[in-house]
């Protein structure tokens, strides 16, 4: 029982960066843009989010407020990803370039920018970029009072995560409401399904595509910051994000383009990532255990392609650029 709770707890923590990465990409893909640059945007978000918290603490000194640090990290990570997505949007939406190649270019560019900034800060600050333990706590501890966390079972299962898990939940439900219940959400889905139809209905296609992609990119990038500030322990290391961004792209298919599904998918993947610590299987070495998330993704991909259902398919115009005067 206790082992199970611990497993779930760790799965949620490990899945949190993926929640953001995936939800951002869900929003992007709903507009018909397949942005393969999630890894790049998450790198940018990670490095710049860390930088924001670090330099804020450096300037504010001992009076640094944890809340402000968290907010700054969130905002800067978002802006970093939004900037990357903006480049992507300009090249693919306005200039109608190939989305796959542009996404890969963004991956290369973004990892470059992330590594560069991480490295640059490290050199500038004499070899070490880390925030103080006091501030770290705001990033890594639960925002709920101790009394709530102390409730048996429920306390750990529901109230013990860091603040980013709860923000992710809010975003997921807000996004689900937006997509399914609101007029703008209907329009966005129409743009992704059939831009020519949306266009003929008077919907401003470019506006929706830009907004969805840029906001989506920002949300994805927050995932990079969450990874650096929680899992990687608030320091920049050479391994960077270990392919989380690519996993997020795969998770979008796994969750069938549904934001709330992204949460469950991310938790499941989080579980797969740490299972080797919690659930030992004899004869299977840890290193092989670690490829489990990828193997599961492959199985899901195959399963999805085996049973096709109209409602579960990707947005119909995904990956295609739109020019009104094309017939």
């Amino acid at each position: 029982m206790n082992g199970l709770i611990l497993l779930i707890y760790n799965a949620v923590l490990n899945g949190a960066p993926l929640m953001y990465g995936t939800m951002g990409e869900v929003l992007t893909e709903k507009s018909g843009n397949l942005n393969l640059g999630v890894e790049g945007m998450m790198y940018m978000g990670g490095a710049i989010g860390l930088g924001a918290a670090f330099y804020y603490e450096k300037m504010a000194g001992d009076g640094a407020s944890g809340l402000v640090a968290v907010l700054l990290a969130l905002i800067f990570a978002f802006l970093a990803g939004a900037f990357g997505a903006l480049i992507y949007s300009w090249v693919t939406i306005s200039l109608r370039a190939n989305q796959n190649v542009t996404g890969l270019a963004l991956s290369i560019f973004g990892t470059g920018v992330g590594q560069f900034i991480g490295e640059y800060m490290r050199v500038q600050e004499g070899g070490f970029v880390a925030i103080s333990n006091g501030l770290k706590a705001f990033f890594q501890n639960s925002p709920f009072p101790a009394a709530l966390r102390a409730v048996p079972v429920i306390g750990q299962l529901l109230f013990s995560y860091n603040i980013f898990v709860y923000i992710a939940l809010i975003i997921a439900f807000a996004m689900a409401y937006f997509l399914n219940k609101s007029r703008a959400g209907l329009h966005l889905r129409a743009v992704g399904e059939s831009p020519a139809t949306a266009d003929a209905a008077g919907i401003d296609i470019e506006k929706y595509k830009y907004l969805a992609t840029v906001i989506g990119g920002g949300i994805s990038a927050i995932g990079g910051m969450v990874y650096i500030m929680t899992i990687a322990g608030c320091v920049w290391n050479h391994d960077g994000l270990a392919g989380e961004g690519w996993l997020a792209v795969a998770l979008v298919i796994f969750c069938l383009w549904k934001p709330v599904g992204a949460i469950w998918g991310a938790v499941l993947f989080g579980a797969l990532m740490i299972m080797y610590v919690r659930v030992q299987i004899p004869m299977v070495p840890d290193q092989l255990y670690k490829i489990l998330p990828y193997v599961v993704t492959v199985i899901v991909l195959i399963a999805v392609s085996l049973r096709r259902k109209r409602e579960n398919e990707p947005p119909a115009s995904l990956g295609l650029s739109y020019f009104r005067e094309d017939r």
Binding site: K181, S182, R183, L186, H187, R189, A190, E193, S194, A196, T197, A198, D199, A200, A201, G202, I203, D204, R308, R310, E311, A316, R324, E325
Partner: protein
């Protein structure tokens, strides 16, 4: 201009690349009337209307509404001037319901019950039948068209543009559509119908505007004209619109299809228990509402579909019969069955758009090269031959066929198929999108093949042409053989009824006309 001129085009020019689609077009149309915009395929009708609907933006000239020059930069602008267009290729989101599609683009909160109420109001006013909660991908073609028209009315359009609205409908559905259009006209709406069908022009419109090769030819009151005059305006010269139809000579069974059931790529049965015989020296027409299994039937014979049951016997001259079911397209060809297939989707299925004529000839011969290399000489020679024979207008046989006009693309495709000296020639919508002259070239090619003793299967959508061109017509309804009629004695009404309801059961078809009389006769339409 008087107050009755609700819309006026002034010196409109629109180009696509080097092609001039509309050149210096000026005319006006009246409020509360039905105007037919008549012209051949490729004469620029749709392009002109797309500028009114905000899909295209004119390169030169201006549009006036109620005497005021206006800028229609997007479909949204068009809505502001109460202009709405029903496109030939429906602009609907398949995954959405009728109501979601209709309300798309509106502002404000998404109030589903209010939307449904407004849809019901419009429906009862003009006599539409529509289920607001039905998903578009579950709808028939005519239901989708209804959604499109309601959508335009819902947005408050006073000017409705309908692009080839009858192309996909049965004669009975066309009748209903015209009733609705008259009701809308009585309600004070202006309607523009884009069409190339003269009888419909005469039936429904008050005025006719004619375009030819992108230029405006003239505008006449329908009551002051007749089909012959309109044809001359449309084509630019007098044409004898007759299709030569010799009686079949010595018809022998060539393809015998028996109890054939075909499943498409999505795993749905699209043709059920089909049985018929195609004879040599005969054109067998295939009619039906779009998507009734025509495509699947032809593709099944060509070896491109999954066949769940039944048989397709091929009976060559002087050889023993052969079963085609279960063979791949390659095996069918290698076994000496000379099937030539002209698919409906020319660039998506019959040709490689990015390659030139030469590369496209290779599609039939690429295996013949020595060893691992392709033999480009065979294909170049064939390409040059077809270019001369059929007068294909291309700067070079290496010039990408995608950049050729529709008529030339079709000539390349038909030319290649005929060049393989087939004993069975199948074609699906061979004249779709072609102008009248090229269409007649294609009809003549079909008839020539028939005279050579080829069994021709011709899937068409224009019932008038089918009745003039074919010897017998097989009518499909929802994947079933609804009936097989003698084209010389049947009429549009009979075929129309067979298209919508499965009629008399005539499993293996009536005897072709040639066997009954044996005497050649030329028949006028």
């Amino acid at each position: 201009m008087g107050a009755s001129n609700s819309i006026e085009f002034k010196n409109i020019t629109k180009r696509f690349g080097r092609k001039v689609a509309n050149e210096n077009i000026s005319f006006s149309l009246n409020k509360g009337e039905i105007l037919s915009l008549l012209g051949e395929n490729g004469s620029g009708k749709t392009t002109l209307m797309n500028m009114l609907a905000g899909i295209y933006y004119p390169d030169e000239g201006e549009i006036l509404i109620n005497g005021e020059p206006v800028q229609i930069r997007s479909p949204k602008d068009a809505f502001r001037y109460n202009i709405g267009m029903v496109h030939q290729h429906f602009k609907l989101v398949d995954l959405f319901t009728a109501a979601e599609n209709i309300a798309l683009g509106e502002k404000g909160r998404l109030d589903r019950s209010r939307i449904a109420a407004k849809i019901r109001e419009i429906s009862s006013k003009y006599g539409f039948i529509i289920d607001p909660d039905k998903k578009v991908y579950e709808m028939s073609v005519s239901e989708k068209q209804t959604v499109e028209i309601v959508k335009v009315l819902y947005r408050g359009a006073d000017v409705l543009i309908l692009d080839e609205p009858t192309a996909v409908l049965t004669p009975q559905e066309i009748g209903h559509l015209f009733t609705v259009l008259r009701a809308m006209k009585a309600d004070g709406k202006s309607i523009i119908i884009i069409t190339h069908k003269l009888n419909e022009v005469m039936e429904i419109s008050d005025e006719v505007a004619v375009l030819n090769h992108g230029s405006f030819i003239g505008k006449v009151r329908t009551s002051d004209t007749d089909p012959q005059k309109l044809t001359e305006m449309m084509v630019g010269h007098k044409v004898a619109l007759e299709i030569r139809r010799p009686m079949p000579k010595d018809p022998k069974p060539r393809i015998v299809v028996n109890d054939l059931t075909v499943r498409n790529h999505e795993g749905v049965n699209k043709a059920h228990h089909i049985s018929f015989t195609a004879y040599s020296g005969e054109i067998l027409g295939i009619a039906g509402i779009a998507g009734s299994g025509q495509k699947e039937l032809l593709e099944a014979i060509a070896g491109l579909q999954v066949i769940t049951a039944g048989s397709i016997q091929y009976l060559p001259d002087g050889k023993k019969p052969m079963e085609l079911v279960g063979k791949t397209p390659m095996q069918i060809r290698q076994a000496g069955v000379s099937l030539a297939f002209v698919p409906e989707d020319r660039l998506g299925m019959g040709l490689v758009g990015s390659m030139g004529m030469s590369g496209n000839m290779l599609l039939r011969t690429w295996r013949r090269g020595k060893g691992i290399f392709v033999d480009e000489k065979i294909s170049r020679d064939l390409a040059e031959h077809i270019r001369e024979e059929l007068d294909v207008s291309t700067p070079d046989i290496m010039y990408p066929v995608r950049r050729l006009s529709g008529g030339n693309v079709q000539k390349v495709l038909v030319g290649r198929e005929i060049a393989s000296a087939p004993s069975v020639l199948m074609s699906a919508y061979a004249v779709r999108g072609l102008d009248i002259n090229t269409s007649y070239t294609i009809y003549n090619l079909m008839t020539e093949q028939k005279e050579k003793g080829v069994a021709v299967l011709y899937v068409g959508e224009d019932l008038d042409v089918l009745l003039e061109l074919c010897d017998r017509i097989l009518v499909l309804c929802d994947g079933h053989v609804s009936g097989i009629v003698d084209a010389r004695t049947s009429n549009k009404n009979e075929i129309g009824l067979l298209m919508t309801t499965i009629g008399g059961q005539q499993p293996s078809g009536s005897v072709p006309a040639g066997q009954k009389s044996g005497k050649e006769e030329q028949q006028d339409a």
